[in-house]
Amino acid sequence: MKEDYMNPAEEIVLCTGPDVRVQIGSLALRNPVMTASGTFGYAREFENLVDLERLGAIVVKGISLQPKPGNPPPRVVETACGMLNAIGLENVGVDRFIAGKMKYLRSLTTPVVVNILGDSVEEYGEIARRLDGVEGVAALEVNISCPNVKKGGVAFGTMPEMAARVTEAVREASGLPLIVKLSPNVTDIVLMAKAVEEAGADAVSLINTLIGMAIDPMSRKPRLANVIGGLSGPAIKPVALRMVWQVAQAVALPVIGIGGITTADDAVEFMLAGASAIQVGTANFYDPSAAENIVQGITGYLQQQGEDRLVDIIGTLKTGMA
């Protein structure tokens, strides 16, 4: 009968637990756990395994203006605690995405972020224009790790001016919240973050994959048909964490942390380093329940730490010897 004496306010706290809502610019999320682009398909692939309504947001596979066939196989290879992929941005193109995939995504209450990519600044702008006003699209995430065809294939995300021009083009074309996804394949990621902040981004997400390769010594051939590919998974987490920490200190924008996140502890580490939200990528492959478990685990962490609100721990890393 002890419950009878429980103070009603206390009961509410017990039922609902700590407040895990976060804000990415004007985008309000029920919790900070998003799924990373290219690792969660168009969400429906996971509907039988994951309660999609429990996620903070869903980021769909990168969409280009025209459909892209992608690279020849083999496209994926496992490496120590990680994997390399050279999918080559295979996707159905923006028009078929809107016509074929949005109906299902709209039926979810979870915000849908559309990841976009292009060969030229104009193309980024055009995709953003076509997505502007499409019901159910909550925000855009701009993948700037793609090659600029007009500039000899150097990635937009490796030069501050080009990153800024893409950001401006998308900003002009669309009123949706604008997240720019940074490439880690640069000397100074802080420069990139500052450039896109100035160009009008509402948030930055990082990191995309680190370029790597793998070789089969017996055949003396590369293991990926494309020779090089993007490294993801737990192997990249320390690099991602360092970059998130540096960027969060240097810009005023909300930062979304990505890279090897598998457990709630991983997610919390990114938030302590300054991330306002996180994305779960490769972990969706080896543990489809990872994102859901992280949502639950973050609540457990806050309770254990005696914190009522998740936002209170963002960027609270204790540095120095004290």
Binding site: P73, C81, N85, E90, F285, P288
Partner: protein
């Protein structure tokens, strides 16, 4: 179609040959929905290395809620899997993919090479349970040697199939390649089902096309997710790319662009 992520208890571990292992799991949800040709993604260990799940065809599925896998140890993941103990709990996702279409009643031929035999036993069992006369059907199995083939061949024979064998070393059956045996069989069947090394399947598909016999093949590609999310398993179809984990692993041979796969 529905798939499940389940912690499954390992019930039995049998070594059929020094490096060929059969594992049987308690996997009630997967077992009731599984169809021949479908596969599961197995997390061989809970840690992060090896990171990715390994795909395996469902070798057997029974009404008592168990499924079996049959595999050869070829690398790190299969080596760990082969050493798991009875009673261990492993994380399985499945059943995944599109299996064999076996609705017809005409005589069929099942052709398995190496571990490609694994899904064919499940198919053979389901065909037999559908009440057909299995004596009119053919089973051609090939592998390295007698050790690897004998235990499996017996299981097909027990279901009433006429089984012919080929081994690389001639220790049992025909010495050489299974497609060598196909000439005699093709005129009397309407449908071929095959799974095995790529070259073997390519050869069989060529023979089936000439004889105008329909052929279904089960493909293997590297897979990161098994669920249509990573797009890592793409191969060339005649009308564009296809994803092996979702549109396959079983395909009508005609839809694939064999020269380019």
């Amino acid at each position: 179609m529905s798939e499940f992520q389940q912690k499954c208890t390992l019930l039995a571990r049998d070594c059929l040959a020094p490096d060929v292992v059969r594992l049987t799991f308690q996997a009630p949800k997967i077992a009731v929905t599984a169809r021949p040709g479908q596969f599961v993604m197995v997390r061989v260990i809970d840690g992060l290395d090896p990171l990715l799940r390994r795909p395996f065809s469902i070798h057997r599925s029974s009404a008592d809620g168990t499924i079996s896998l049959l595999f050869k140890v070829i690398g790190k993941g299969t080596e760990i899997l082969a050493q798991r103990c009875v009673g261990d709990q492993l994380d399985l996702v499945g059943p995944l993919g599109k299996g064999f279409d076996f609705s017809g009643e005409q005589p069929v031929c099942l052709i398995g090479g190496g571990m490609g035999i694994a899904p064919l036993l499940f198919l053979a069992e389901q065909l037999e349970q559908s009440g057909r006369e299995t004596q009119k059907d053919h089973v051609l199995l090939g592998a390295r040697n007698k050790d690897e083939l004998a235990p499996l061949a017996e299981e097909f024979s027990a279901l009433g199939y006429a089984v012919q064998l080929a081994s690389d070393d001639g220790s049992v059956g025909h010495k050489g390649f299974i497609p060598d045996l196909l000439d005699f069989v093709l005129p009397s069947v309407e449908q071929v089902y095959t799974c095995g090394p790529h070259l073997m399947m390519e050869n069989i598909v060529g023979q089936c096309q000439q004889a105008e016999v329909s052929c279904q093949v089960s493909l293997e590609t590297h897979m990161a997710c098994g669920m249509g999310a990573c797009l890592g398993c793409t191969v060339h179809g005649k009308r564009g790319l296809v994803h092996v984990c979702k549109q396959g692993p079983v395909f009508n041979a005609d839809v694939l662009a064999w020269g380019e796969i």
